[in-house]
């Protein structure tokens, strides 16, 4: 099982790297993202990048967004390029195909996110080395990586689920982008039109003492959501349906 997942993962990763034509353009694409998120932005922020932890917290979302571009291609791309039926006619078990594809998307996006974060921590110090070297607190890094992983997994599972049914990569991408739009507009509307009493109640809840409990609740919620989405994707993975679609 693990060997099969790794086999699919390696193939998917090679395909992701060559998504833009050649391996070189794939690496350039990665370096551009790391250049912006891991060099330019920390350089502009300076030491505040490492001391004010709200900045790097936004990195938890980076893999979440990066993964959309690759998971939309996972099944819809195979269907579009007529490689799906041959893959399904091989000995690979259903779970290996599905988990290998999800893993490739997660590792790709998480890899870029973590690399950018780690480099950013160093780059942020460059302008003020005389004041001593400061870096993110280790517990903060641990929580951030866990959140990044769970968010990337959430999007990868959702994206794979959408890609399973989509007839083309474009359709899968559009569906995912639309669901993102609905999600963010929803959050905006809730925060914008939340009654004053509810705001006061919430701000009373989010105290520094309650932060660990809040993080634990978020992590737990994401774990459950990931597990549910992966299970649904497994249930919807039917060779006969995939072929006839």
């Amino acid at each position: 099982m693990i060997q099969d997942i790794v086999t699919v993962f390696i193939k998917e990763f090679k395909e992701i790297l060559q998504m833009r034509g050649t391996k070189r353009s794939g690496w350039i694409n990665i370096l551009v993202v790391i250049g912006v998120m891991g060099v330019y932005m920390p350089l502009m922020s300076g030491r505040e990048w490492v001391t004010n932890l709200l900045n790097p917290i936004s990195f938890a979302w980076l893999p979440f967004f990066l993964v959309i571009g690759v998971v939309a291609d996972s099944f819809a791309g195979e269907r579009e390029r007529h490689t799906l039926e041959t893959l399904l006619a091989s000995r690979l078990p259903d779970a290996s195909i599905l988990l290998g594809k999800i893993a490739a998307g997660v590792v790709y996006s998480l890899g870029i996110g973590i690399t950018s974060l780690l480099i950013g921590g160093v780059v942020a110090n460059l302008g003020s080395l005389e004041e001593g070297f400061v870096y993110y607190p280790l517990d903060f890094l641990g929580i951030l990586w866990a959140l990044s992983l769970l968010l990337a997994l959430l999007m990868a599972s959702l994206g794979t689920l959408v890609s399973l049914r989509a007839s083309s990569v474009r359709q899968a991408s559009q569906t995912l982008s639309l669901s993102m739009l609905v999600f963010w507009v929803g959050i905006f509307l809730v925060t914008r039109f939340l009654p004053e009493e509810a705001r006061v109640l919430l701000s009373g809840f989010f105290t520094p003492e309650r932060l660990p409990m809040f993080v634990a609740m978020v992590v737990l919620g994401l774990v459950v959501a990931d597990a549910v989405l992966i299970s649904v994707a497994m249930l919807r993975f039917k060779r006969s349906r995939l072929i006839l679609d």
């Binding site: 090679k14 998504m19 390029r81 007529h82 490689t83 041959t86 006619a89 091989s90 000995r91 006969s240």
Partner: protein, 315 residues
């Protein structure tokens, strides 16, 4: 057990359409089996059923002794397939594609490398192994797909119209490669094709299906010999258009015509041809040469598929 494939009344419906209709046949080990039929006859659906990718509506299929419905994964472990499309990852090189499928079938690294080299060298593609497949011709891609199907030395391979869409030169080349590889690998081949001469050349056993139903089964030789009429060509002087109604009146020959100055006709296999030659001579025709041609598989196919009212062959 001598049969690699055994189907019993295999049936598959799609809503109101019956794609495969009570198919019953057996394919012995080591055979190149041709599965012939027009577009939409149910060939691809049959392959999908045999690979366990679709569930039958009725009947059963056993492939390599495994039930296609409950043991599809065991079938897919021990077979190779080149389906409707080459199914290759065009962003990747030939080497990456074959390496991926080598890993899929758990070939150890050393064995995988040597096997890929062996197949690509045989197909004349080893020098180009690092190039992405996107720029390759369809014929070359089909060769890589055949290499992929044979990579793990399966006992049975399914080839769904492997030469479709190829130019004649590429088709002949691929056919030769296929014949050599099938012989060398001692693999049973389940081949669907539109190309009747291809089937005639490669296959030891053929089945013809029409609208999901089996209408003929046997060796190409047997099927040809069961044809009721034989094609006769008569060359000579004095062959004119006026002979055609005369042939109909006196010999009941309705399918006849003058082609490039010679006479071509369908002659009932159970009648003496000498009576026709004698009568022609008596009518003043200077007969110089008479050729009796065995029916081709193509003619048998057309009889069964185009003119569906004719009696089916059951060889």
């Amino acid at each position: 057990m001598n049969d690699v494939i055994v189907t019993q009344s295999l049936t598959r419906d799609f809503k109101t359409v019956r794609a495969v209709d009570h198919l019953t046949f057996q394919v012995p080990y080591g055979t190149v089996f041709g599965f012939l039929g027009p577009n939409g006859a149910g060939k691809t659906t049959t392959i999908r059923l045999l690979l366990g990718l679709l569930e039958p509506t009725g009947g059963t299929a056993h492939v390599l002794g495994f039930n296609s419905q409950s043991e599809g994964h065991r079938i897919r472990e021990q077979t190779g397939a080149l389906l409707e499309h080459p199914g290759l990852y065009e962003r990747l090189s030939a080497l990456d594609n074959l390496d991926f499928y080598g890993r899929v079938y758990h070939l150890p690294a050393i064995q995988r490398r040597s096997r890929i080299q062996e197949l690509l060298e045989h197909l004349g593609l080893w020098e180009r192994r690092h190039e992405p497949l996107a720029g390759w011709s369809r014929g070359m891609k089909q060769k890589v797909a055949i290499a992929r199907a044979l990579l793990h030395r399966p006992k049975l391979i399914f080839l769904d119209e492997p030469t479709a869409g190829l130019d004649p030169v590429a088709a002949v080349e691929l056919r030769n490669d296929l014949a050599q590889l099938a012989e060398a690998e001692k693999v049973t081949v389940f081949l669907t094709t539109h190309n009747l001469s291809e089937a005639e050349r490669l296959c030891g056993l053929v089945a013809i299906i029409r609208a999901g139903k089996l209408v003929a089964f046997g060796s190409p030789e047997t099927l040809r010999s069961r044809r009721k009429n034989e094609r006769v060509e008569i060359y000579g002087q004095g062959l004119e258009q006026s002979l055609l109604p005369w042939l109909d009146t006196h010999f009941g020959v309705r399918q006849a015509g003058l082609v490039n100055g010679h006479l071509e006709l369908e002659w009932p296999g159970d009648r003496e041809l000498s009576s026709l030659v004698r009568a022609l001579v008596e009518r003043g025709v200077g007969v110089e040469e008479v050729r009796r041609n065995k029916a081709s598989l193509e003619e048998v196919f057309l009889d069964l598929v185009v003119d569906g009212d004719k009696e089916p062959y059951t060889a």
